[in-house]
Symmetry: C2
Subunit: 431 residues, 2 copies
């Protein structure tokens, strides 16, 4: 058994008064907020599943303060969760900030013992998922998220690091296994078996849920993906890169909440972005006020899916051609014009393998949001439950085909084509 980690004896949950006194003692924070500490407005706003989140506003500016609780907030003390996740989140934020600059919130202060991080307040940004439900388009998104993924993944991969640096990075995040375990259980196991925490839109999806629990080909496919998740430390991944971990305005994109970060397969991050866009696309019909009134938005979502992969791949390849200082694919083995050409062919083959992983992980991320514990507001916000189930059934149909027939999806256009085809498919219960 892996040993349980010890909680720092100085850890305590900070309530408003404690927090005010604590923050007043941190010069960088006091300067950022301005004015007298007694006048700071402190509001607890955490709507996530795990942590306390405070917004603090002073005379000059505001900050966000995130403190981990020693249990899952949504469930309570019966589901303990190590505070060390705040440490790993901080490590990941520092890595991402170094490589992507403004694409993550600036960290102002971190206290490992208190599992607390104070960050730049993102305003007027909103959670991207909420914007997508409204049918809002984000013109910066493709460029920003593809830069985020290309930079954070490439520069923590064997293409950019020496093997020694890579092993040190893997070891530095090895302790975050409790967060990995959540993913292993909730994404890669539970939706495919009877598990108390599973839920789905009943009764319409009962038969489909049963099908997914009975389909042994799917169980082989998800087990292979689970093994890849556990034992393919390709790069330092965000680990939870859905549209609820992204804050946006029309001009800015910020990626937040990397507490699930560890060295894992790159396709898991890329697949998360693509899956959540595909779910936004297939949930859109449930948010129509009149048939077709979200057609422009929906077309944009699919263009965005295509752009996310193609721009990610393009930028990753640019980095590989110019910044390959790692121990993988040593350029010394590919000299001259012929070597350069052969390596370029191999780069394309590498990206094709990564695309296969991406398709599989995108499918896994979709299925868990419909048959597992944690659902997406995209679907949940569809008040008519039968209409919601229709949208979800379409997403499940697409995901099932992506997981079982991943090799038939050789391009991102094949994925968006399949999504378009399923957009108006009617499940049997709706006919």
């Amino acid at each position: 058994m892996a040993p349980k980690e010890q909680q720092d004896p100085s850890y305590r949950i900070l309530h408003e008064a404690d927090l005010r006194a604590y923050l007043a003692d941190v010069p960088a924070i006091a300067a950022q907020l301005g004015g007298a500490a007694a006048d700071w407005a402190i509001t607890e706003v955490g709507d996530g599943n795990l942590n306390l989140v405070f917004i603090v506003k002073g005379a000059r500016g505001g900050i966000a303060v995130k403190q981990a609780l020693p249990y899952v907030r949504l469930v309570g003390e019966s589901w303990p969760l190590p505070l060390s996740r705040a440490h790993y989140e901080h490590l990941a934020l520092v890595h991402q900030a170094r490589l992507t600059g403004q694409l993550v919130p600036a960290v102002l202060h971190h206290d490992r013992a208190l599992a607390l991080t104070a960050m730049e307040l993102l305003t007027p940004h909103i959670i991207m998922r909420r914007g997508l439900i409204e049918g809002i388009r984000y013109p910066r998104f493709v460029d920003d998220i593809s830069t985020f993924m290309a930079n954070t993944l490439f520069f923590s991969s064997d293409l950019a690091l020496t093997a020694a640096e890579k092993k040190e990075g893997i070891a530095a995040f090895a302790g975050n296994h409790a967060l990995c375990k959540i993913t292993e259980d909730l994404i890669f196991t539970d939706p495919y078996r009877v598990a108390e925490q599973n839920r789905w839109t009943t009764p319409w999806l009962d038969a489909t849920a049963q099908d997914f629990r009975d389909d042994l080909d799917l169980h082989v496919a998800i087990s292979r993906l689970k093994l890849k998740f556990m034992a393919s430390p390709e790069a330092l991944i965000h680990g939870d890169l859905h549209t609820g971990s992204i804050m946006v305005t029309q001009d800015q994109t910020r990626v937040i909440d990397p507490e699930f970060a560890f060295y894992g397969p790159m396709g898991f991050d890329i697949g998360a972005v693509i899956a959540n866009l595909l779910m936004a696309y297939l949930a859109s019909a449930g948010h129509e006020r009149a048939p077709g009134d979200r057609a422009v938005f929906e077309a944009w979502v699919l263009e965005t899916v295509e752009g996310v992969w193609s721009e990610f791949a393009r930028k990753f390849l640019v980095l590989w051609r110019s910044e390959a200082r790692g121990d993988g694919y040593p350029v010394a083995l590919f000299p001259g014009e012929a070597g350069t050409a052969r390596l370029e062919t191999e780069r394309q083959a590498y990206m094709a393998r990564l695309f296969q992983d991406t398709v599989g992980f995108a499918a896994a991320k979709t299925i868990r949001r419909i048959l597992g514990l944690a659902h997406n507001l995209d679907f949940e916000a569809i008040a008519d439950e039968k209409q919601r189930a229709i949208c979800e059934a379409r997403a499940l149909r697409l995901a099932r085909s992506m997981m079982l027939e991943a090799p038939s999806f050789t391009t991102i256009d094949a994925v968006t084509k399949a999504a378009r085809e399923v957009r108006d498919w009617q499940p049997e219960f709706a006919r």
Copy 2:
């Protein structure tokens, strides 16, 4: 850059007198040796490339003492190598002893600061490679080495460990990266480029060596294997499992020297055993006194190659069916008779993928012994250099085909068939 590790200030190289006094202070050792410390016979016998090795004999019994030097013994202080390798070797020995009992030497004492380990003296065992050169058959070998590999690999894999335990294991060995780097350079890079340390039997293999340096398909194949070596922590592997790391009698097999141990691809260990047997087979013609006088031995070597894989695979599958307590391939997803059958099919597919890795790594291990820095006595002991080159050319021909056409080798019999076919092939320079 990965930081350089600090040498413990109490480290010192032990010469005979120091060693005698040191050992006399360790009760377990004094008891094992018996008699007065002044009467112990101490001989330095290290013929490896890296360490000091002493044999100490007392009135009652003997021990072997291995001390790491802060540099590569073969080269000298100009090639520093961290002492921590003795720590990782000790960790690996403990792991192997727990899982294979008598198949590794018993550890009597370990001193991390001195990078020193005292072990059971293996006598009258000899290095297996020397026995193979003599044409000696070892009837226990298949059973013992397949047990060693099945147990050590299975029980450190995702099939036997929780993901948390696995990540802790990976982290515990992450610091052994300097030893991994030797493999990365000498096996996966240097033989395919101009490197000062490379050597081969010249002039006969000059053209072949040039071919290997020019063949870009080979360079892609070896780069994919290198990436797998660096970023596929499937299990705690020995890391240097050639026939020079195995000591044998007719009745016993002992695996020694796991200082290259880390979490890597299982096929690397299995491929190492198979490659070194294939080299023994193809070197055998060079040790004939009369044509065909080693035919029985050679037939035994190829049977052994077949037995190593098939017994390994059989035992690994037995463990998987009965001891699968890990997070990989959860049995909950494969219930009932249909589930059991589907999981069994997937186990076969898993073994087929592992066999592909094994074939590729076996090829890499062969090529490095003929075109790289460290050569095998199997070939080196062939005094007639042209005859040696002929044997080596055959091994290179086989290895090249195994590396480039790995998928065409779907069974171990296909490998031994190809070996048999190349046994009497004459390279152009010999015609």
